[in-house]
Symmetry: C2
């Protein structure tokens, strides 16, 4: 169990409790204004957690950054745990917004290369700072909250789904051989991306990411049919 200034994060958050929260406090009951406030809290919390980590982000920080009161926070979220699950989902949405165009176009050899180049150039621009925000959340939370781990696994799967769709299309188009397993390829590429981003963040050098993604694309090319 680890403590922050105001909230306690339990080692095992109750998944059932989170589901119950979704039913009782779900967005379906919110007014348009309420939905906006809820989204503003999630957006502010996402930025704070990106900068400070989950354990380093307090309820006070989130209230100050989003101009909300404690009663407002508890109106929209049962507890910090419930809010953090939304932060995880929002972080994935931000990633997809950032690379979605290239991800969706990664359904040919050229498209795959353009996605690789986009990710590498984005990382070169930041010098590796930031790493992968979803990967960082996973490192912090996966062993400390089972409900967070499930949401993280689902988010990685959703992200991989773009690569999976692309590899399926390439196999259907004859750009990948029939013995290629699109799911295994997507997972291997995601692992290379995660590991490359982590090492680039530690070294402030884009090269580990480049080496990792080029290894991954070479791995996919292994399943290119003979001309």
């Amino acid at each position: 169990m680890f403590m922050t200034q105001n909230w306690t994060i339990k080692s095992n958050w109750s998944y059932a409790a989170v589901m119950a929260t979704k039913i009782h406090r779900g967005t379906a009951r919110l007014t348009a204004r309420g939905s906006l406030t809820r989204a503003r809290i999630i957006a502010g919390a996402t930025d704070l957690v990106y900068d400070q980590g989950v354990a380093g982000t307090s309820l006070d920080d989130i209230m100050a950054a989003t101009g909300t009161s404690k009663s407002q926070l508890y109106h929209y979220f049962a507890d910090k745990d419930a809010l953090i699950l939304e932060v995880i989902r929002n972080q994935l949405a931000k990633i997809i917004a950032g690379q979605g165009t290239e991800l969706r176009a990664a359904r040919s050899w050229d498209g795959l290369q353009r996605w690789r180049d986009h990710v590498v150039e984005s990382t070169r621009a930041t010098g590796g700072v930031g790493g992968c925000p979803l990967g960082s959340l996973s490192s912090e939370l996966a062993d400390r909250s089972e409900s967070a781990r499930r949401v993280l696994a689902a988010c990685f799967a959703e992200w991989e789904e773009y690569l999976l769709d692309g590899f399926r299309a390439m196999r259907a188009d004859g750009e990948l051989s029939q013995d290629a397993d699109p799911q295994s390829l997507a997972t291997a590429v995601m692992a290379a991306l995660q590991g490359g981003l982590l090492l680039s963040q530690a070294t402030h050098d884009v090269q580990p990411l480049e080496l990792a993604l080029d290894m991954a694309l070479g791995h996919v090319r292994h399943y290119r049919p003979e001309d």
Copy 2:
């Protein structure tokens, strides 16, 4: 800046301050008993940080776990930042102790495969829990402390050095072709390892690690000379 219960972690720790601390409080001046106490504090802090993260581990936690007083802690470490740098180094030492035999033997195709199998079986035994302790420290600290980032980068380089030595030996022995770049191969394999461990931690499934390491070994095999 993020707060813990007792200590404040500054966004930019002073590297010079840490170096000065090493000179003034270096182990060279410690008695044998003092060295043991210092090592005990580092070992206890490493376990706590592994469980709770850096931001979630307070001075009180460390004092309670190691049976030391605040004045003892400050006798051996200038501040939490200085202690955390030692925790990072100690975490690498624990990793090398865990897979060092296989790492040192990864200087042939068989040895490389045995290292891969050792890492995969260790991860299967834990169901992915724990991920990579060094990778987790990197995710938490790399953007928040420049001195920690430098130590993390040095630790990854030290770990990669084992793979690098192996690939150099394989090239010298003619098991890798002359156009293989041992450093690039070592970094790519480390990226696959990090990404695989991260996804296996999130999914509680060893498969992402297996796929990542098999991709990495296939990448190395690409440089196998033609028979």
